[in-house]
Structures are given as C-alpha cells and as structure tokens.
Assembly symmetry: D2
Homo-oligomer: 366 residues x 4
C-alpha cells in the first residue's frame, strides 16, 4: 500500500484535516452515501529478528548472556537482569502474517529491538547493521504490501553511521531509523552523535526511539523491573535530555516516534514545564516550554490502557498517536494493539489516523 | 482573511490532517522552532439586524407582537410567548466590532435569526430576504476582513427561493444560507422544499440550521421555556426528520451546521440508532444508522458547557465543531464563545479547528 | 437482599464515601487481601405487566388502540402514533429471570410503563392502580430476592392518590412510585397534584419519572419519533417545569429518578442556567441556578451510550446514576444495561454505585 | 477542625457515599434548599522546616553541601546535583498562613521533605526526628485549626523508629508519617524495615511517601533533572518494589499517600499488570494484579495538570486523590494546588473529597 492507495481508502471514511484543498476532496468522499471503508492499519512497533542476529549476540558475549526463565523459555540477560525473552514469531514470518491477518493489521513496520546493534562495539556495529538492514529489505521485497522497516544504525562508528543512513533510506528504501534510549550507556545528546542528527534532520528522517535498560540497572534486577519500569524510565530520561539539551529545538524536521506511549513523558510533561519556569539551568538551550517540543513528537500506543490513551489524545492529540504492538515480545500484544484503539469512545476518523494515517504522513519512502 | 491566509497562519501552529500532501507542508511549519502564531477566530452563530427589518415585522403583525419584558426591555412575542429580546448591538456595528476585538474574534459570520423572513407569507418573503441579503453584502463591503454572512431564503416562494440562493451566493458572494427548524410550521422535509435542497446540494451550500419555536408552542409559554427548551427541541426534531426522511442521505454535499450544539441531537443520537435497529418504520428511506449521517453534520459550540463540548468532541470530533456566540442575544455570550473553548483541556490544534479552521473548510465563497 | 447484605458485599469491593464512620469500616474491607466480591446489580428501569392490564386498556378505548406493526407484532397506538410494542417477557416472569441471570442482574425494580393507569379517567384510575400494585406485591412475595417495585398512583383522584401512596409504601412495602412526564396532558406542576407531592416529600418517596408521549403528538407520528424523540422531550419539559416552578426547591426530600438519562436534561442544563441568569421570569420561584436542583436528581443509564454516560458522570457524578434497561421494551436492552457500564473506563467503585449502591441508598423500604 | 466539624460542613454540600446510614443523613443536607457551604481544604503535601534543621544538615556534611544556584539563591546539593532550594516561607509561619488564606486552604499538613532525617546515619537520625516532631507538635499547639503534621521516623535505628512512631502518634498526636522513596539508598522493601511496617499496619498509620533522588544520581545532574525526573522515577520504583514484594498485600491497613500524583505509577500501572500476566517472577509474592493494590493507594495532586488529574480520577477515583501543593518548594504551587482542582469539569462533591474529605478519612488522630 502506498500513500495514494491509503488516501483513496481514507477518503471514503472521513479522515479529515485542516488543509482546505484536501478537505474538499475528502469531504466529497466523507459525505457520499456509501458505507465506510475500513482504513489501513500499520503497526509501527513490532520486532523482527534473524537467527544470524541471535548468533552474533551469543558470539559477542560481554554484558549479554543467554539463559532460561523460570518457565524454561530462552531469555537474554544484561549483567544478569532479564530483558529479552525469545519468542518463536520473532523469526517466523508466516506465523507473523497469520497473526496480523487475525487482528486486521495490514502492514508491520518491523525494527530491531534492544540491544539492537549495540551489543557490539564501534568496530562491530556496522556489519551487524548492514546484515539486518539487508534482511529487512529482503523481507519487504518478498512481501511488499505487508512490511515496512526501520533501519538500524552503527551510531558509535560515525562515518559508517552516515553511510548506513544513506544506504538504508536511499538505496534500500527503508522507512526510517530505530535508535535506543541510550547507546551503550551514552546519551543521545552526546556531542559525538550530533553530525548524525544533523543529517537526519536534513533528510527529515522518521526516528523510532526504542527503550533500553537504564545504565544503572542494579535497582531493576528483581521482578523483571528492567523492562517493566526501567524501559519507560530510560525513554523518559532520553527524551527529557534531548528536550533540555536543545536537540528537539535544533533538529525540528526529525519525526520522532517515542515508544511505549512515551515511557512516562506524557505524565511528566507538566513537571518539565514547571522545571522550565522555575530553574534557570533548564533555559540554557531552549526558549519555549518543554511541552512545546514534546507535543510535536509522536507517541505509539504500546500501553493498551484506555486511561493513558485518553491522556495522550487530550494532551498531544490523535494526530500524534500511532498504533504499535511490541509483537511478539512479552508485555506486547498484537490483539490489544487493535482492540485497545477500537474500544476508545472517540470519533472513527481519529481512530483511523492512529491506526495508519499518521504513520503514512511521517514515515520515509511511502 | 481568505483561505490561503488562514492556512498560512494555521501551518505555523500545527493544525494537522490526514491528507499527506498538506501534512507534509503543515508538518514543516509545525516543527519549525518558531513560536506558535494564533489562528483566526470566526463566530458562525451571531445575528445582525437592521431597523428596517424590525419595522417589517411590526407592520406584518400576525403571530408576532412587540412588547416589553419584566425589566422593561423590548421583546417580540410569538402568540404571546417570549422568544426574542431586542438588544442594542443587534443593529450597532461599531459596538459589535468593539466586542469582537475585546474577545479576539476576527470574523463574524452574521445571519438573520428567528423569525428570519418567515413572519411574512410566501408573497412577502422574497422582498424581506432581498432587503436583508443586500444589507449583509453591504456590511461585508464596508468591513471585508471582519464580516461574512449567511443568506436568508424565501422558502415558501419556490422560484424566488432558487433565484435568491443563486443571487446571494453567486452575485453577493455570501457564505452560505440560514434556515429555521420549521418554516411557518412546515417541516424542512416537506416535499415543496425539495427542489431547493436539490439545488443547494448541487452547489454544495453550507446551511446553518437555526432553531425556531415549536409549532405547538403552548407548553413553552411559562418561564421563557420557548427559547430555553423549545428551541433545542425543534432543532432536534428537524434534524431527526431530515435524517429518517433520507434528506441527509440524498443530499450529502450540503454542509449543515446545527445551531446550539445540535439542540439535543448529540445526546439522543444513540436513541435514534436504537430506533433504527428496532423499528422497521425507520428504515424506509435510509440504509445506515442515523449516527452515520448525524456525525457528518457540523455543530456549533453555543452551549458553552464543558460537558457538552467534550461530548461533541468525543462523539463527532473537533473537526465537526464550530465556534458560535449567539451574540448579541440573551442566552448567548461572545465572551463564553471564546473562553469556553480556550478552557478545554484538549490539543491546541483542535481548538484552532473549532475556532476557525473548520468554518473556512465548509463556508461558501472563502 | 436488604441494605445490610448489600453493604456487607459492597464493603468487600471498595464502595467508598465521605462519611468517616462508614469509611473506616469500608476501608478495612477494601484493603484486606481478599479478592473483590462482585456487588449486587439492580435494574431500576424495567417494566412488568399482566394480561389483565392490557385487557383494561383494550376495554377503555379512547386515545389508545391495539394494532400491529409492519412486522406483524402487536402494538398500542396513541391517536394513531405508535408508542408501545408488546413483547412476550412483559408478562413472563420465568423468561425475565432467565434474562436477568444471563446478564447478572440480581434485582429487577419493576414498574408500569406508559400509559400507566392514565388511559383511564379519574374514576377508573384507582382500580387499575390497586390491581397493578397488588400484582407487584404478589410478584415480590413469590421472588423476594429478585424483585422490587415502583407503585402506580391514580393521580387524577386526589384522595385515592394519597390513599394508594400510603397503602403501597406502608402496607405493600413497595419501593417507590412511578409517574409519567404528563398526566393525561396535565403537567406535574398542576396545582391539583401539589398535595400528593407534599405528602411524598414528607415520606421521602423515591419517584421514578417515566416519559409519556408529548401532548401535541402530531409532529412525532412518522418514523416512530414518539418514543425516539418525543419521550425524551416530554421528560425534559416535565423536569424543566418542576425546576422553574419551584417544585424541586419546595420538595427537596423526594428522590427523583429521571428516566432515559434525563431525556435531554443533562445536555440542556447549562441552557437552563443561562435562562436563569438572563430572564427575570425564570427567577420567580427559585433562588438557585437550575443546575443546583438538577444535580440533586438521579438519572438512569437507559441510553447505553458511552458519551452520554461520561457526560452524566462528569456533570452529576456517579453517585447520581442508576442502572436501567427498559427491558423488555424495544429501544431498551438488558444486555447493554450491564455491558455499557462495564465498558466504561472508570473506577470499579463507581460502577458498583451505578449498578446498585445508589439505588439502595434512595429506594424506599430497603 | 475535627472530623465532626468537617462532616457537618460536608453534609451541606453533598459529599455522598455508599454507606446507607450516612447517606440518609447526608441526603437530607444535600437536598435542603440551603445554598452550598464550602467544604474544608487540607493541603497534605507541604513542607515546614526550622533553622535548626538546616544547621544539622550543614554540620553533618557528607553527600550534602550548601551552595547557591545561578540566581544566587541558596540550594542544597546531593553529590553535586541540585535537589533542594531554600525558600523563605519554609521557616516563616506567618507568611505561610497568609498564602494559605489567600488561596483558601484551611489546614496545612506539614512534613519534612528530603533529605528528611536521612542525611544523618542510624546513630544521628533519632535526635533529628525528635527535634522535628517536637517542632511540629509545637506548631500545631500554637495554631490548632491551621496545622496538622506527618512525623519523621529514624528508620535506620529500628528500636528508635518504633519508639518515635508511638511517641509521634500516641503522645504528640501527629497525623501520620512521612517516608522517602529510598532510605540512604536502601529500598523500603529491605527486610530491616519490616518490623516498622508491621507495627504501622497494626496502628493503621497514614504514610506519605515522598520522593528522594535516585541512588544512581549521575544521569540526573544536568538541567535539574534530579527533582524534575529523578523524583518521580524513584517514587515509581519504590511503589513498584513494595507492590511486587508483597508489602502492599501484607500490610493492607497502612494508608499510603503517594507524592506527586504517584510519580509515574498511574501511567505505568497497566505495564505492571502486563508484567504480572507475562512473567512468573512477578507472581512470587502477590496473587492479584498490581493494579489491585495500586488502586487502593492514595495519590496527591501535585502535578496540577488537568490531563493527569483526569487520568487519576478515571483510574483510581476521586476518592483516592488528595490535594497537595509542595509549597513552598520550587516546582510546587499553592495557587495551582487549589485552582487546578477548581478548574476540573467534575462534580462538586468529588472536588470536596479531593480538597479535604479524603484526607480526613485516612489521616491519624483526626
């Protein structure tokens, strides 16, 4: 499905907008007597792997170890703390398509989750990134109507990072980039990454910000608190730093999708604004309230909770929400991805934007 | 302000939409570091009169009489029931502009309230309509940036109705039409009005449906219940009949703005749907749930109540809400028109559509 | 189930309140480690009839006629307009209990719907009321845990009205009274009914206000608009008159339950307040904003619509909402009665009050 | 104001509840014609210090240093990260009373914020706690109608902790206890603290959980991120650990008030539930979904954000929300404490519970 096909579908069901010319066209469709046609559904938070990827992690060693959980299922630990459980559909495309069909998802925008390529050091990252981006391009070539993908970037190898960004978006035609909330412990605001973001801004890249376990992981070891609590914390910290550090101000054309409904960003937005009002230290690099920048970001719906989804809709708007599932990871749910949005008592046009319209408006190469 | 100027303003503040091409342009503006520019505000429910109009009513007599209320203010009664209190700003343009400036309203889309031209019979209506439409065109000519207008139509004179529709929209360049919820007691679904609606549909006319007191006005005589309760009832009845009668289905290109937040339509929408599900009689002329048609209508915000405004936003969407004041009538409020929307805890982009973006997308000749 | 049993159940699930002594007790239950126990569910808007009742209407004639709808089902018309469709469970107790069990309703608070006893004149009403109230007392005696009932009152026979009120509540131990929104065309504010309301206030009676078709029924003849639109209109008009006439002020101890989520009262509450602010005529008999009185009323949930239910919760509070089904009438739904509340994203304690806690706090003889 | 006085006020304004006996009394008040009487307002998150306290910190040294911020105002740092700015009203009672009067707060429930007594080691804590609890008792004695207080507890000195708990609540009649989200780096779930919680549970103590800067404070050094982001993180982590560790299950009679609207607990509640469903490790010590325990906690309103306050009301209920200001700290606001609740479009009875009714139902010695 390309943009034109989507709009043709969307036009029948009433996705509206402020731009008059489009509205005129849409209104015609909206007001025809024809029954509504279902809009396309894209899942922008879903993870696909290859056996070769897991093999690379195993060979690499370091912080990461393979072991099993209390139920005997294979998991990966980071310094002993569980943060990744391996599920069969992670590498099984036909099982994935079956699940997508069951819940009515048209397109999976796949990406490489934690640890992404960052289990490897600067030297090793480029090869892993190339291998995975090629695998994604191959997946799309075989199922062009069912898959899109975010590229992985070897951030610690500056030249390779830029080269892979260009190759992935310009040659492989992937649809954006995935980054983690910290890069081997470094903040995204680290000056060494600035040239990458400068170029991403120039290219108007869509970047999916995915959580990583916090650098100080010790407090999260028990009760799987790493993924449950540490992930949203690290996401929030990464966004807060980019905001106060001026990155969101300086690179306004990057389209950021923040995973897991923003971690805790939406709930702490007001506190960041209060910080800006009350502390001179926070005004060094920005000249608007943090919420000014934070409301321009996009947030996935991987929370599945009506209270959170309503908060997002009221605070940042349905135009800034995108459906995600975190499939096939634990804590994720491809069923709830769709049903949690369907269940909201909000206008159908807003649901359609969350299901797919917004994604198609910010992804690259659509 | 024309459409282009509005969009240029809106682009800076983030009014988003589903149409990709526009979004691309808008997104650029949205994400620039520049502070937000306030969008334009249009008041689509506000009434302007001339002394000549009141004189015509007085000469006409019939159901209508001039008298005074308990506070000594001039009022008009219908069969003895109060339904119109005369206020100085009704004919005082400079007082009106002063009030608009005070609350930040850029454009008043004026119209002729009850009894509109319908105090006169079929023979008398065309002259009153011409007189008033000319007066409105004159008002706009003198203040092109501050006024737009809905034309009055002599509905009971079929040929004159069509002629005045063409003259008002094509020659005078007025911005739509105002109709009452009943026309001298006749329903808008009366077959005699069908040719008018057929042509209005062809011309994609924006029609502002304004309440009239119910035909059986006796139960509303006490406590000013005519305007308080009778008005929203008659609006609701008119819309329900147009819906079940198939008019909304057959004439999908008319852009209806329903006054006073739809009367009670939004609160009774589900009951109309239940009626469609349960009674064969309701399916004779439509083939979708009533809500399918009712959610395509537009609703003004002349309720000022956060509960009602939230219900509208959740049920029909901010894209289908338009700011109104009912100025300078009692029960109306030009202050609350703006403040009631400002006070909503919803995204700024949605407020901007309610303030003006939606109006500019459906008014004629903008 | 009596009040004590309910509270003992409710204590386990956390129905909270402002009264400290009760809270202390409740908190203990709330915070025990025990899993939540489901609270009791009462349906306060559900109708039970006897064959004898339909026979009385048939014998009486007058405005009411028996005929069939387009699907061949038996219906009653009022001056030719459909307003009552006869369904088997109306007289079939075992079918009703089966449906209650299916959806988890513990207690049906049955009542006699339109035309209630008011198809008969003042002379005939007392006998019909006695017959039906006895039938209800009998139904409860046979199923004491599953039924409660509102008594019918022969309002047009003043002495009999008071006598039946005393008999029904004091002897038969029925749980309140049902009244229609108009009594054979007379408003409830008619002075002739004042002695009844005076005594009802003294006795702190719970009165269920049920809609009747408007006196001027002509505009509602098509598309079953009588029940769909006329019912909520007449409810709204009745409440508005009682409010402005001072009845709600003068008789504050009557506990009013307004059927069908208040008709359109919740949506028009602000307009009534605006009327009070703007018109001297509205202040003759009350000295608070209408909403002051209207928020003290109770509203059933026979709308099933999440938008309306949220509006009610936000405007009058979950403490003033009571579950109803309008079973087994068309437009009603015993399934939606429960599921529409279950589906709300609100605290469980509020749902329990809507399901039953509020009813038990205002019904008589519990 | 004691409990009786509050109820007498609350009865006039309609705070309702599930307990029938109280409801009967309340309903009478609610439905009387008398205009509403404003309920009492208690601020449960507000901090009072003495010069002696600051002197103790200065003498103690260690992690804490006194310095000034970029504006020259005195601040305290923790390992170099700013986390405490000294404001004049922190020690000025008459300025505080003036501010309370200005916004209409009747009672300040004062407490000792971070670092509380925990800048001192186990040996030093008891004396600091005694000194401050005595100072609070003295403050209350001088202004019995305007102050209540949470006691500080020397948690690292087990015997002294129990002794001070008894002295503070039984002798000084303080109204609960304040604890920090970590105690000199130790989790509240540390087994050494269990005897204290066992006794607190037996005594049904109200414990105000106040944030502390996370143990690993390094990532929060820039942009005052410690208080802005670190505080809510540490609160969330502390609550999550108490939940999964079974403390909330095992000690159900402790009434926990979680500061800053729960940190990020309300937004991450669903993710904790998903964790419980998906990971065996999380079920070791609890047998209900985390939300079962988390919804029994109380949350202050020190977020001031309508989106967050609505989320709280929808998820945990107005019965579990308590007004706080964090006065006179930066990030806090005594004005917004009241105005943010007043501005919510929710029933007045719910506001009154948030303003004070809930506090009086869980505080000790009221």
């Amino acid at each position: 499905m390309n943009r034109r096909e989507f709009l043709s579908a969307a036009a029948s069901v009433g996705a509206a907008g402020a731009a008059r010319e489009s509205l005129a066209a849409l209104a015609h469709g909206t007001q025809s007597g024809a029954p509504a046609v279902a809009a396309q559904k894209l899942d922008i938070h879903t993870h696909h792997y290859t056996q070769g990827f897991f093999e690379k992690i195993r060979q690499n060693g370091g912080h990461f170890s393979f072991t099993t959980d209390p139920n005997g299922r294979p998991i990966i630990t980071y310094d002993g703390a569980r943060f990744f459980g391996i599920q069969p559909p992670m590498t099984d495309v036909s099982k994935r398509l079956e699940d997508m069909d069951r819940v009515g998802i048209n397109v999976a925008v796949v990406s490489l989750s934690t640890p992404n390529v960052f289990f490897a050091d600067a030297k090793g990252q480029p090869d892993v990134a190339k291998m995975m981006n090629d695998a994604y391009a191959d997946l799309i070539a075989k199922n062009p109507k069912r898959f899109k993908a975010f590229a992985s970037i070897p951030m610690d190898a500056p030249d390779a990072a830029l080269a892979e960004l260009h190759r992935a978006l310009n040659d492989l035609k992937l649809n954006g980039v995935i980054l983690l909330s910290n890069i081997r412990g470094a903040a995204l605001t680290d000056p060494r990454y600035r040239p990458f973001f400068q170029e991403a801004n120039r290219m108007k890249v869509c970047i999916f910000l995915h959580p990583m376990i916090p650098v100080a992981s010790e407090p999260f070891k028990e009760y799987v608190l790493g993924p449950i609590i540490g992930f949203p914390f690290d996401t929030t910290l990464a966004v807060a730093r980019m905001c106060f550090d001026g990155m969101l101000k300086d690179f306004p054309d990057i389209k950021w999708i923040i995973g897991h409904a923003g971690g805790a960003v939406p709930f702490l937005m007001e506190r960041m604004d209060s910080g800006y009002r009350d502390f001179a230290e926070t005004k060094a690099k920005i000249d608007q309230l943090p919420s000014f920048y934070l409301k321009r970001l996009y947030y996935d719906t991987v929370t599945f909770n009506p209270y959170n989804l309503h908060l997002l809709r009221d605070e940042v708007g349905a135009d800034h929400m995108l459906m995600g599932s975190d499939y096939p990871h634990l804590l994720g749910s491809i069923d709830k991805a769709v049903s949690s949005i369907e269940a909201l008592a909000i206008p159908a046009a807003e649901k359609q934007r969350i299901f797919g319209g917004n994604a198609l408006s910010i992804l690259n190469n659509v």
